[in-house]
Amino acid sequence: MRGEVAAVPRGWVVAFYGSTIGKKIVMAATGVILVGFVTGHALGNLLVFSGPAALNRYGELLKSSVVILWIVRVTLLAAVVLHAHSALSLTRLAQQARPSRYAKHATQASTFSSRTLRVGGVVLLAFIIFHLLHLTTGTVHPAFSPTDVYGNVLVAFSIPAVTVFYLVAMLALGLHLHHGIWSAFQTLGLNHPHLERFRRALATVMAVGVSLGFSLIVLAIAFQLVG
């Protein structure tokens, strides 16, 4: 009957994630987890400027509890998988929603960062896989040592192609965060006129800060200002 809600023949998780808004909320929530991680990761890595002892001690500290290490790793992996799956699924839905293109379509309001989010996401996914094989497992690293983090990064960025790929990925990360952090507020229902200026500023500062922080490390090593 009109005005009454038909019983939903599915569990609430399936119904929630089956909707475009549910997927978007999952994307925002996992995005927030990943933002927290990259911020901490960038800050920690800046220890490279304090020399080998400081960075290697930090590396040991992170691995001091196997249990905590694996809880964090599994959480991050789940976040990346859910984030990428919802992104892929929403991208596909969006493509299907406009089968015929406009002959002329002017962009009026959207930011460059919002329009490059999907392409940047693919770059980030490729980067995450490479980065894990490179500096976590050492699979694609020419001279990997499980205990010498400092030595590993010095060798890593002495190879120009690797340096360039990292820099491109950090540019993608900056753009991703510039729209992503602003957008996540909206997706999680936090849009109040009082918040608007704050969240734009927060997104910009964090995007520039994180992206520049990582890039400085890579550049400093590549140009042998460190080590």
Binding site: I21, I25, A94, P99, Y102, A103, A106, Q186
Partner: protein
């Protein structure tokens, strides 16, 4: 004024469409955009050609019937304006104008510039209403409502359902429309009892109609002839999340 118009012509829902160029010589700057098309259609009819089909009704910017993409922008270049309220004085003599229908899977073309926007009506049917007991009309001022809430509800209620938000969205998403409708009821006391179910049901219908999801590009709000803000989308997101977390059924 002389104009070159490139207009999408499509004989029916399943026909392949194409752009056809027209030259118009007798356009006055005082004409509205639709009057300019009326004059072109008269010329076409006199020549024995089929006139261009386009939607229109009130021609005063309040019904939301008129709908077309003009040079890549829904409702044309003037902000906060429907096509019927756009005037030719905004164009230079000799300009070329590209006119095409809203393009979305959920808005199939019926003919030329006319698309079927029934999907928006079905979203309303799914939850964009309040249930009231019939009988005597209640006292109009019986329920006190704060002025700020009234203003915000009225801002959202300005939506005329034209579909420009869907047309402008790179994802062809109907979030701004759906959120405006959910918000103008959800901000008022009368809208509270059904608020959670409204969010869930309207969103479910929106998805069923094959609109895309929202990426918060912001193109919708910029294209909206009634300046509906992105804030309504955040409200719908919050209502949907709340409904999922707190409702025992339906969500």
């Amino acid at each position: 004024m002389k104009l070159r118009l490139k207009i999408w012509r499509q004989q029916g829902p399943h026909a392949a469409g194409e752009f056809v160029s027209y030259e118009t010589a007798d356009v006055s700057p005082d004409m509205s955009f639709l009057e300019m098309l009326d004059v072109l259609n008269e010329t076409l009819q006199l020549r024995g050609d089929v006139p261009i089909a386009f939607d229109h009704d009130c021609r005063e910017g309040i019904c939301g019937s008129c709908a077309m993409m003009i040079d890549g922008v829904p409702h044309g270049p003037q902000k906060s304006t429907t096509v019927c309220q756009l005037h030719m004085r905004h164009y230079r003599d000799g300009a070329t104008i590209v006119i095409e229908p809203w393009r979305a899977k959920a808005f199939p073309v019926i003919r030329d510039l006319v698309v079927d926007r029934g999907a928006l009506d079905r979203i309303i049917q799914a939850g964009g209403y309040i249930s009231v007991a019939t009988g005597n009309a209640p006292e109009a001022n019986g329920i006190p409502i704060g002025k700020d809430m009234v203003d915000r509800a009225m801002d959202a209620a300005q939506c005329i359902g034209c579909g420009a938000c869907v047309a402008a969205c790179p994802n062809a998403s109907a979030m701004l429309f759906t959120a405006a409708k959910a918000t103008h009821l959800g901000l008022l006391p009368q809208g509270q009892p059904e608020r959670s179910h409204r969010a869930v049901n309207m969103v479910r219908q929106m998805d069923l109609e094959t609109f895309g999801g929202c990426t918060n590009f912001g193109e919708c709000s910029e294209a909206c002839p009634k300046d509906i803000g992105l804030e309504v989308i955040a409200r719908l997101n919050a209502d949907f999340l709340q409904a999922t977390l707190k409702e025992r059924e339906g969500a």
